[in-house]
Amino acid sequence: MAQETEDLTSSLSPSPSPPPPPLPPRRKVSGEAPLQVGGQLQSKPTTAVSSIDISTLSFPDGTRGTFPTPSVGSGPSPLNSGYGTPSRDSSGDNLTDSMSVMSFAPTVRAPGDLASLVAGEFNRKSRAWNLLRSQSETVQPFEAIEYGDSGELSGFEKEFDNIPENLTDDVRLSMWQSKMKHYLILSSAGKPIWSRHGDLSLINSSMGVIQTIISFYEGAKDPLMGFTAGKARFVVLTAGPLYFVAISKLGESDAQLRGQLEALYMQILSTLTLPTLKNIFVHRPSTDLRKPLEGTETLLSSLADSFTKGSPTALLGALECLKLRKSQRHAINNIFLKNRTDQLLYGLIVAGGKLVSVIRPRKHSLHPSDLQLIFNMLFESGSVKSGGGESWIPICLPAFNNSGYLYMYVSFFDDDDPPSTSKPTTTTNNSNNNTTPTIPEEGTPPPPPPPPPPSSQPDPESQEIALILISPSREAFYPFSTLRHTLLASLTKSAHLPLIRSSLSPSHSRPSIPSILPPSHAQAISHFIYKSRPNVQFLMSSLHPSFTSPLARRKLFSQYQTLHAAAHAKHAHLKVIYSVGEDCASLGWVTPLFELYCVAGPNVSRQAMTEAANRVVKWVGREEGRVFIIGGGVF
């Protein structure tokens, strides 16, 4: 068992409380300890390794092979694991003892921020450093990537690859263990429901171990929140009859991982609704939930992958808008409002995952977490997009009302939409404009199948424009289909649709740093995210050119996650956090009105960065009416 590294957040209180009573396996291990401790015994660690390796097998923490050669001189440093708990190799000989002490160290603290802040101060005092810095201000963040050094993230490129089915179980298991991020969902009865990587037959035993550990603590009325094994952080969320587990080697905080697990839970609710989910398990606790959830695996996976890639929406709980002039957005809202039908609850125009226009009743607002689920369904996974045509989807929006379904009409405005659809045939589908009537003469061989699309991976800078109409009535499809055609006609006639399309072009959709800051300051920030707290929306600078690769993007968002965790830790009354690391400097600034997070090259001075940050804030203040939807169309 893995108790030696378990870490209960419930025992995070400073009082040196004894470990929870039921820990028989550990006593056993410490009973064997004298056999394992001691210099000459390090060379024959077979017994020790095997007893530890039982847990290594279940928890892929990448520590295999670290035992025979204990690391010398690397004392347990909070910087190593990022969690304040020792990684296994740093605990040296006194394996069991040091772990039992250290395992109660706080884990929610941001990795190494304080230390690097201090280090920064040291650096500033050094004249040599200042001289060096004056020549090296142009060093970009995460430059090491370009030299092929991806550090702790090596192998991240393969993170999203499927585990092939035609290999032996051993190979597949080691591929599974090499993933840096895992999500598992299982029922409290131990039935596996979903996992991001690996088919369930491969990881069934791991699921079993996790279920045993969780229910062990449930039984002790002391629910397990999370623990660390090696470099992997395990976070557990219990939601009704379901267990959600996140396993991350990416350095996210517990709160962030828990937020991601909650989003997965919301996705399940959005498929089933809460009463249905409860009913299923009340009647038969051993139900296999895979059947009722059939077909939504891709939604869970694309949601999980967006977290692993780094999702500002998930991190900040906010949405992104398409930048438009205030008057233009107003005009689009008005066209939308004028044409709406009675059954309409919410209407949205979304372009490439960014909000263009929202109309809603005065007494209802839309929750970002619900929109995140919708956007994930439409833009990240291909389920709706690939089918073409118009879709009519029953969906539960858990933050709006988790007990019932709404009905969602979705249609994409394609490029080849006719400029005017004045025909009274209201349900002509755009997709048949480019096809000729298809009845070939008898005996004509069908055309060979076209080559499959290169990849089902959606374009990250997706440019689709979608119309989303949500109604409580399941019969609203035909009125909505009519509404779509009148809207399309009006928006095309008023030239707003081409306008939206041109605003979507990569060069326009997100501002670049040089377009915001004067050349004198443009070096001082490489990327920023600005969240407007009252509007629950965020704005970020273009990921182009430095952060387009998945690895650079991941490093950037790891930095943001660290800043965010530090600023939002319990009892943290931080307003500004500045941190310098080996490969970048970062600044977080939190006020009641906004949160700003920026990243710059490692050699940028704090003063330069602060000045640039101030300018960004001023710029956003000027552009607020364009980059955010303030109010939206209300009826």
């Binding site: 498929t271 089933l272 059947k291 009722p292 059939e294 077909g295 939504t296 891709t298 939604l299 059954q343 369904m377 996974s381 291909g382 389920s383 709706v384 690939s386 089918g387 073409g388 045509g389 118009e390 879709s391 009519w392 989807i393 029953p394 969906i395 969602m408 025909k423 009274p424 045939t425 209201t426 349900t427 002509t428 589908n429 997709s431 048949n432 096809t435 009537p437 298809t438 009845i439 070939p440 061989p445 069908p446 055309p447 060979p448 199948p449 076209p450 499959p452 699309p453 089902s456 009535s473 399941r474 019969e475 609203a476 499809f477 035909y478 009125p479 289909s481």
Partner: protein, 231 residues
């Protein structure tokens, strides 16, 4: 009835696709509407609505296609889609016997609940995975491994279809084999009488005919929609 210079009479037909998950309903529609095929297509959520015209020698049929999701949890929504439908495509996967059982359930439900004159076609999809798909062009990759994945014999399904008075086809959405034939056969099988209502009034005045037809295209639908909202 229609002279050669006038446009062919056109009428719309509401068609619904039903069947177990992952038998290839959306792929059949994609092949018919866009003449396209996607490997590893993601499951449909809810239902998708598409249209496609089908030219017959004497008339044009505009199919209004409801492509439904096959998962169990959407089953309760199916009546919304097959209500007032003039045609149904019940699809099974001929490499998966349970999908034929599910198809039989759908046929029974349609015969019980749907409009009395509904034209039902039973379609066994994924013919490209079997050995006897010689009729399909571009064959060789799928069944060429010598492995015949077929689990439902043609005779079994055909016998059942004849008993129930269904049209019957085996298709491959991947190669396109037999796909348009299914829709053509359905278009031909729709009784003239059920189309008459769509173009009846326009027959008297030739000048007004096209206009009438346009209006009539909406005719059968709009009342339905209103009816629906009232409940």
């Amino acid at each position: 009835m229609a002279d050669s210079s006038a446009p062919k009479p056109s009428s719309s037909v509401k068609l619904v696709l039903l069947g177990e998950a992952a038998v290839g309903k959306s792929s059949l529609v994609l092949r018919f509407v866009n003449n396209d095929f996607q490997e590893n297509k993601e499951p449909t959520i809810g239902a998708a609505f598409l249209t496609q015209k089908c030219n017959l020698p004497t008339r044009t049929i505009k199919f209004e296609i409801w492509d439904t999701a096959g998962q169990e949890r959407f089953a309760s929504l199916a009546p919304m889609y097959y209500r007032n439908a003039q045609a149904a495509l019940v699809v099974y996967d001929l490499t998966k016997p349970t999908s034929l059982i599910k198809a039989k359930h759908w046929v029974a439900e349609l015969q019980r609940q749907a409009s009395p004159g509904i034209v039902i076609a039973l379609v066994g999809n994924k013919l490209d995975l079997t050995n006897d798909s010689a009729g399909a062009d571009g064959e060789g990759a799928g069944g060429g491994d010598g492995e015949d994945a077929r689990k439902v014999t043609t005779e079994e399904a055909k016998t059942y279809a004849e008993e129930e008075g269904l049209l019957f086809f085996e298709t491959s959405a991947k190669t396109g084999y037999n796909v348009t034939e299914v829709f053509t056969a359905i278009a031909n099988a729709i009784p003239e009488t059920s189309l008459k209502t769509a173009r009846g009034p326009g027959a008297s005045a030739a000048a007004a005919r096209t206009e009438e037809q346009r209006v009539n295209l909406n005719g059968p639908r709009d009342p339905n929609a209103k009816e629906g909202c009232a409940c």
